[in-house]
């Protein structure tokens, strides 16, 4: 699929906002700017994160140094949020979540104190009852 979202067709979709939001999220997590002009590598933050993730360095190294060394629980939350950010900056717009989904995913980050971690049960969806 053609990734071009702007341009002649004016194919402007909500998914472009989602991408930009993903970039903001990466900045919040890493403390870096979208484009670090003053640093030598001058790389776009999305490329930078992708390269880091592809390397042998632990994913934690992407996080802002001020956020490293915090309790495990928090680091897990950050890494989960990092996952959401990467979801948002997917190069294919159709693969990006909607903002509504992003909100839901973010909420989940903080709302699972025990279940997920403790028991490794199969992922069963909540049944939908019409009421």
């Amino acid at each position: 699929m053609d990734n071009a979202e702007y341009g002649y067709s004016m194919n402007i979709t909500e998914k472009s906002d989602v991408y930009s939001y993903g970039v903001v999220l990466l900045e919040i997590l890493s403390g870096r700017s979208a484009v670090e002009s003053h640093v030598g590598d001058g790389q776009h933050i999305v490329e930078w994160v992708k390269r880091k993730m592809g390397s042998f360095e632990p994913a934690v190294s992407i996080l802002d140094t001020k956020l490293q060394g915090l309790p495990d629980q928090m680091v897990q939350e950050m890494l989960q949020t990092l996952g959401i950010a990467m979801f948002c900056v997917n190069s294919s717009p159709s693969e990006r979540p909607t903002m509504k989904e992003v909100v839901a995913l973010l909420m989940e980050v903080k709302s699972q104190p025990e279940e997920m971690g403790k028991t490794s049960q199969p992922l069963i969806k909540q049944s939908l009852n019409q009421s």
Binding site: G7, V23, S33, S127
Partner: protein, 707 residues
């Protein structure tokens, strides 16, 4: 939750030790292979939310250890196989949202450990098998939205654990039996949209755990039993559209936990009980289309959670009690239409600043309607068929209102200043003369300005060519031209004037500069802080300015706790000023770059807040709004680090090709643009920042109730 396509391979049946098969949320097609019945260890089978078709294989009856069968949300057809009754371990059966037909096999009553059975949203007909009364573990039974007929089997009410009984939208007949009271475990009893008749049994009052009681759209007759007041935990009581008669029992006021009360479309008589003032959690009170008389009880002021009040189409009389102005929670709708209310609109109504819809039509109300000008959130208003008089308020909302909203009020008149009539004649003439007067004013003002401007220039530069300045004064002075006339359009009640704002536009008050303009921090005489953004006006093209104004008006209606609130705007010939709530703590860029130790909780809060603001623009506004320039600089923070999306709606202005300031924005937003082939072009469009997709369509943003 993937994107698997194709059909379910029958070969899976070789997996003899398979206990869970979870394929829900894919795009699987084809039938459910009957061979899967050979997976004799299968405990959980979940293929819901796919596009599966065909019938449910009867062979599944062989799965004796199967506990959960989830087939919801597919395109399954045919009957529910009776053989499922052989799956003696079944506790959960979810067949909802399919096209299953036939009847519900009575054999299902053999499922001794069945806890929940969902069949809603199918085409199932016949009666509800009384054998469900044998499923002693049954906790939830939802058969809503089918074609079920016959009566409610009393056996069901013998179940000791049944908590949710949902039979909405069928064709059930007969009575609601008094034996319903045996089912003490009931929390939700929802039998609306059927053809049930007879009286509502007084025994219903014994259901001490009942939270939802839906009896709406049936043929229930007689009066509302007073015993209903014994169900102290009741939160929802909906009996609308029945044939109920008699008075509303005043003891209903004892149901202090009620959140929704709908008694509309019956033949109830008498007065609205004073005791309704006890409903401190009530958010919707709907009593329309009855035969109610008397006046609105003053106790209404206690309904501090009420968002919607509909008393229309009754025979209520007296004045509108001033107490209604205390119900500031009224945000959705206040409908008093088609009654016999008299008197004036009480001044206190001005406090209902969040109200979106007001209908006072077809009463005998009189007096001025000035107070309605303070209802700044209104999106719909009808005051027709009354005896109102005096000027129609001059606000952006009233300007958009069609005359149908106030016809048949002979004494109402158009106005220019909101205080006096410009013409008391027929509306059309009034409009015309208003236009003429406005035009004359504008012409006079511009002549004065030109004269004054040239006089200043002449006195400053002796001997300078007067002819030249006459023509050029407007264009050359550009952004610094603060001359009158000014248009000042607030979107809410404000306590300052245009002069107060202009006084603050000094260099020492600048708090930010961007390509769209300069932002000033402005302190108003009462101490209120606002942010004023001074835009450069798009060159001479007047149409652009007009659409700009239109968009600004629309944006004035957006309300969300994570979006900067536009208070109003001002403009003269060359300057546009946008007024926002002042957000004191800078933007996210500054926060991240500062040396502060920004903790994770704060970062998370900012991430969630900005996501919610953006989700509101995308999903709760019709047509949806694209921000188009989401970036750290545009996320502002208040003293508690609540995030606010800022800086949008300037698309049209920045469209101007000559507007090269916009180009500087390219660098600023670069890095936030989604990748694409036509990156160069995308930069160009990005300059426009935020585009409201459709100009002419009305924008509706749903009120988001933040819990």
């Amino acid at each position: 939750m993937n994107k698997l396509t194709g059909s379910i391979p029958p070969q899976l049946s070789k997996l003899q030790k398979l206990t869970s098969l979870l394929l829900w949320g894919n795009a699987l097609t084809g039938p459910i292979p009957a061979e899967l019945s050979n997976c004799s260890s299968l405990v959980i089978f979940d293929v819901s939310s796919n596009d599966l078709s065909g019938e449910i294989p009867g062979d599944f009856g062989k799965l004796v250890v199967l506990e959960q069968l989830h087939l919801s949300d597919n395109s399954l057809t045919g009957k529910i196989p009776w053989q499922l009754s052989n799956c003696t371990s079944l506790s959960t059966v979810q067949l909802d949202k399919n096209q299953l037909s036939g009847t519900i096999p009575w054999e299902l009553g053999k499922l001794k450990v069945l806890q929940s059975f969902f069949l809603w949203g199918n085409l199932v007909s016949g009666t509800i098998p009384s054998s469900f009364g044998n499923c002693s573990e049954l906790y939830a039974l939802d058969l809503s939205r089918n074609n079920l007929t016959g009566s409610l089997p009393e056996e069901i009410f013998g179940l000791k654990k049944l908590s949710k009984l949902l039979l909405l939208g069928n064709s059930l007949t007969g009575r609601l039996p008094p034996s319903v009271a045996n089912c003490q475990s009931l929390v939700r009893l929802r039998v609306g949209e059927n053809q049930l008749s007879g009286q509502i049994p007084k025994e219903i009052g014994q259901l001490q755990n009942l939270v939802f009681l839906d009896l709406y759209m049936n043929h229930f007759s007689g009066s509302i039993p007073v015993e209903i007041a014994n169900i102290t935990v009741l939160e929802l009581l909906d009996v609308h559209n029945n044939n109920l008669t008699g008075e509303i029992p005043s003891v209903i006021g004892e149901l202090e936990n009620l959140e929704q009360l709908d008694l509309s479309r019956n033949s109830l008589t008498g007065e609205i009980p004073w005791s309704f003032g006890n409903f401190s959690y009530l958010n919707k009170l709907i009593l329309n289309n009855n035969l109610l008389t008397g006046s609105i009880p003053k106790s209404i002021r206690n309904l501090q959670k009420l968002t919607l009040l509909d008393l229309s189409y009754n025979s209520l009389s007296g004045g509108i009690p001033p107490e209604i102005g205390h119900v500031t929670s009224l945000t959705i709708s206040l409908d008093l239409s088609s009654n016999s209310f008299t008197g004036e609109i009480p001044e206190s109504v001005s406090a209902l600043t969040q109200l979106q819809s007001l209908d006072l039509s077809r009463n005998m109300l009189y007096g001025e309607i000035k107070v309605l000008g303070s209802l700044t959130s209104l999106t719909s208003l009808n005051i027709s068929y009354n005896n109102f008089s005096g000027p129609i308020p001059v606000t952006p909302f009233f300007r958009t209102l069609s005359s149908n909203s106030y016809i048949q009020n002979p004494e109402l008149c158009q106005s220019i200043d909101g205080a006096t009539c410009s013409s008391s004649l027929i509306r059309k003439n009034g409009l015309k003369s208003a236009k003429t007067i406005a035009m004359i004013t504008v012409i006079l003002a511009s002549v004065t300005i030109i004269l004054v401007a040239s006089w200043i220039l002449v006195t400053r530069n002796h001997g300078y060519k007067v002819e030249q300045t006459l023509g050029a004064s407007t264009s050359t002075s550009g952004a610094e031209d603060f001359s009158y006339p000014w248009t000042f359009i607030p979107f809410q009640k404000v306590s300052f004037s245009i002069d107060n704002i202009l006084d603050c536009l000094k260099d020492e008050n600048v708090i930010g500069k961007g390509c769209s303009g300069v932002v000033y921090k402005a302190e108003m005489p009462n101490g209120e802080l606002i942010a004023v953004k001074k835009l450069w006006k798009a060159s001479k093209a007047d149409e652009i300015v007009d659409s700009f104004a239109a968009e600004i008006q629309i944006l004035g209606y957006i309300r969300h706790r994570n979006i900067v609130r536009l208070i109003g705007y001002c403009s003269n010939r060359s300057v546009n000023l946008l007024l926002y709530n002042y957000i004191p703590n800078g933007n996210l860029r500054q926060l991240l770059q500062g040396n502060r130790n920004l903790d994770w909780e704060t970062r998370y809060k900012i991430a969630v807040g900005s996501a919610q603001g953006l989700a509101y623009l995308h999903h709760d506004c019709v047509p949806s709004i694209l921000h188009r320039d989401v970036k750290c600089n545009n996320i502002l923070l208040d003293s508690k680090f609540e995030a606010y999306l800022a800086d949008f709606g300037l698309a049209k202005l920045m469209h101007s090709p000559s507007y090269h300031h916009a180009m500087s924005r390219v660098a600023g937003s670069y890095g936030y643009i989604a990748p694409g082939k036509s990156a160069q072009l995308s930069l160009l469009f990005l300059n426009l920042s935020y585009i409201l997709l459709t100009k002419s369509m009305p924008l509706i943003c749903y009120l988001v109730l933040l819990v």
